[in-house]
Symmetry: C2
Subunit: 222 residues, 2 copies
């Protein structure tokens, strides 16, 4: 098993998070680093999706991963097996990351030589939506067992994300999940959102997602 | 469809939430009202479990329900069909309820004549765990598709709950969910926790859960 660092994140002292986030975004752009902020509920399959994504893109990009969690390191262990550079960020009970906390993570990871960094945010559909991390793009995962009504209940998260991965699509029949209704609800909040049904378990739909991420990462570098 | 009220919850001004919670708990005890605080991730099946629970207990208790949500009313609509007294609480983006917010909800619901009130907290495994609502007991639902590692990742929630319902147990084989491992992880954090596997969909295990809730409600009244 590959080794990884664990970093205890400190609470931010910056008052203006939006300003700090914009500054960080520009810093990363100058360095040609695409930062993706990946958010979801607990247990929607962020880590499994990430593992598959790294496997698909590891020959094209130098990938780094920041695993934010309250205090475990199970996700960093899983991701370190892919060979990607990984750091575990402990938030010490904090329910989200802001731009300054993300910046602490990037320093801990050491971004030298990387061109794609994925931040796996704390599993939470509420608080992370309120804080710009400085990422180039925001992605979210909604998993089929959570239900097709979630855009109605967590509207801000669906509004601020550029792409929605609907995971565990292989379980749609078992859970009576209405993909069309869910997509319409998400698009009503955010007409520009890309909606991609996937199964990180079977691999279904992963190509469309990987294509999106590849294009965005390459465009960011121009 | 039964009608229900929608209440916009105001941010609390109380500085000492623990004190306010203890005060509310004693007020409710004096009135012989058992308040259950029900927490979980988004989409774990809180509302379906609640619907089944009300159906099982509605001839024994006068039941009230407070549905906390950021801004939808889909859950209150569902619960109102059971005939229970229900109010929808809108948190306006806030990720949890504290004791003063719960108290606002109880006033809006009107507790007169009720003996069992269930608060369906905001879907979130992080923040609601940090705020005592003044409830008699705390219950949480973890659903099988979320994974058996969740006690490792959201330890505070598992620590403060009196009972853990493991829902969607009918899907355990599909998701390679290890019930024994999950139970051990939960009990390591909280040895007194009751762990009850259920399927709100098929009804499996609901009797054990309903028995627990009946006993607790009756004991609270003595």
């Amino acid at each position: 098993m590959k080794e990884f660092k664990i970093l205890e994140i400190k609470k931010s002292v910056f008052e203006n998070n939006d300003e700090r986030a914009e500054q960080l975004r520009q810093e990363l752009k100058t360095k040609h680093i695409f930062l993706l902020n990946l958010m979801s509920s607990p247990g929607s399959g962020k880590t499994t999706t990430l593992k598959r994504t790294i496997e698909a893109l590891k020959d094209e990009f130098h990938i780094g991963v920041m695993e934010a969690d309250i205090d475990s390191d199970v996700d960093a262990k899983t991701i370190s097996e892919t060979g990607a550079k990984v750091i575990q960020l402990h938030t010490g009970g904090m329910c989200h990351l802001d731009a300054e906390m993300t910046s602490q993570g990037l320093k801990g990871l050491d971004t030298e030589g990387l061109d794609l960094i994925i931040l796996e945010n704390v599993g939470n559909l509420v608080c992370p939506a309120e804080f710009d991390t400085g990422s180039a793009k925001n992605a979210m995962i909604l998993s089929v067992p959570e239900g097709d009504d979630k855009p109605l209940k967590y509207p801000l998260m669906f509004t601020i994300c550029d792409v929605l991965l609907i995971n565990k699509i292989d379980a749609a029949a078992f859970f009576d999940f209405d993909l069309e209704a869910c997509t319409q609800r998400a698009k009503a909040l955010n007409p520009n959102m890309q909606v991609i049904p996937i199964s990180a378990k079977t691999g279904e739909g992963m190509e469309a997602w990987v294509d999106w991420l590849r294009d965005e990462t390459k465009t960011w570098k121009v």
